[in-house]
């Protein structure tokens, strides 16, 4: 085994030219596989020494997160205030030591259907920045996650950053699991209200092979919002919105839950998230 600890993105890309090289980010997925004997790495490129990957900046109406920004960083008040749904999602990941290790780039690299940040990234139309031997490129998140544990990275590429819009309006992330801590989502949902753009954005996790946008439900609810206040006056609207959201789910039965329960759970999450987002005072 060879372990490289590059200190710049360029050095990392050079090390990844080795076809046997595997990227090590926070280690919360990688080491589990190594410890269980399911992964036998030959060449490891650890990203922990690349300072620029650990930083985030506000760029006008966007936030740019380095790929090695951790869940704990997402919970810090300055960042959480700009990206509240991402902070909600980060809070549900693992436990404090897991949140200290796991990164947003790692969540994208693993591309698990249950990845907690992925519905948030999908709802916000996040852009993934990728570096590789051919240079850098942008990939919208819906094109980045291509299947369960599959992503659009080509050999030799790594995720370097994620760009997310800063929206004015309430945001929610909700998740069902067997307890509050240390839980992999059985179903999850991100919802964001964009008061300027007069849109509602909603994406689902753990109920399909990739994060799923509920676009028909989004526009149905947006048409029922009084955007001057903003408010939804028809109390029955949230239940109908939730039914439309649940139609998008493509869940499966597995060791964590059943398809039927997931479809039910995601509908409940949608109704609660929408009601919470539009409750009086939430949009002030």
């Amino acid at each position: 085994v060879t372990v490289w600890l590059p200190t710049s993105i360029d050095e990392a890309v050079s090390a990844l030219a080795d076809p046997d090289a595997q990227v090590l980010a926070g280690g919360t997925d990688f080491l589990v596989e190594v410890n269980a004997g399911h992964r036998r790495p030959e060449v490891v490129v650890g990203l922990g020494r690349i300072r620029e990957l650990q930083e985030w900046q506000r760029l006008g109406g966007w936030v740019r997160l380095g790929a090695a920004v951790t869940y704990t960083q997402m919970l810090q008040p300055d960042l959480a205030g700009l990206l509240p749904a991402l902070a909600h999602a980060a809070r549900t990941v693992g436990s404090p030591p897991i949140r200290n290790a796991g990164t947003i780039g790692g969540n994208l690299g693993t591309a698990s259907p249950a990845g907690d940040t992925l519905p948030v990234l999908a709802a916000l139309d996040a852009v993934v920045e990728v570096a590789g031997p051919e240079g850098v490129r942008d990939v919208v998140v819906e094109d980045f996650v291509t299947g369960p544990k599959r992503n659009a990275l080509s050999p030799g590429e790594l995720v370097t950053a994620v760009r997310l819009p800063v929206l004015r309006g309430p945001q929610e992330y909700r998740k069902v699991g067997v307890r509050n801590a240390m839980v992999i989502a059985v179903a999850s949902l991100a919802l964001a209200v964009d008061i300027e753009g007069r849109t509602v954005r909603c994406a689902l996790g753990s109920v399909g092979p990739v994060p799923l946008r509920a676009r028909a439900a989004e526009s149905w609810l947006a048409e029922r919002v009084d955007w001057e206040r903003p408010a939804v006056t028809d109390a029955a609207a949230f239940g109908q919105f939730a039914a439309l959201v649940a139609q998008v789910a493509r869940p499966i039965d597995d060791h964590r839950s059943t398809a039927d329960y997931r479809r039910h759970a995601v509908r409940v999450l949608a109704e609660r998230a929408a009601a919470r987002a539009f409750e009086p005072g939430a949009t002030a």
Partner: protein, 162 residues
Amino acid sequence: VTPPYVLTVNGAEHHVTDAWLGENLLYVLRERLGLPGSKSGCEQGECGSCSVIVDGTLKCACLVLAASAVGSEITTVEGLQPSRGEFTEVQEAFIVEGAVQCGFCTPGLIVAIHDVLSRNPAPTDLELREAISGNLCRCTGYGRILAAAQAAAGAMARDREG
């Protein structure tokens, strides 16, 4: 990184020889450096028994590639106390409050509670529960552990004042 490599643990440099570079930090601490305080429970970050501090941050040692920790400051449960046989306020409180039964989870909990109290000297009950949410104890039901953490917070506050 090529073997032998050097890890800085509890302020001392340790040479790691004859190691496979895919080893996790927990294995290296226990099996190569003679530091068995960190326990090996699940090896997947679920149980918290291997909690250590790496560069000031609480981590599960089983999820750290040991070779990637070259140049980092690692503190294990053995490094918390001033000298062998002397207890920290947290360790003392665990004894006084009866927070230890089988003891397997205890080192991880001691490290996690040191970590939270270093950042938040007067945590609420909910903050403490979240801080130890990654540490599984199958004996105590957590009540005495939480009592010990609060007792330690009180003792540390008195130390600072007095």
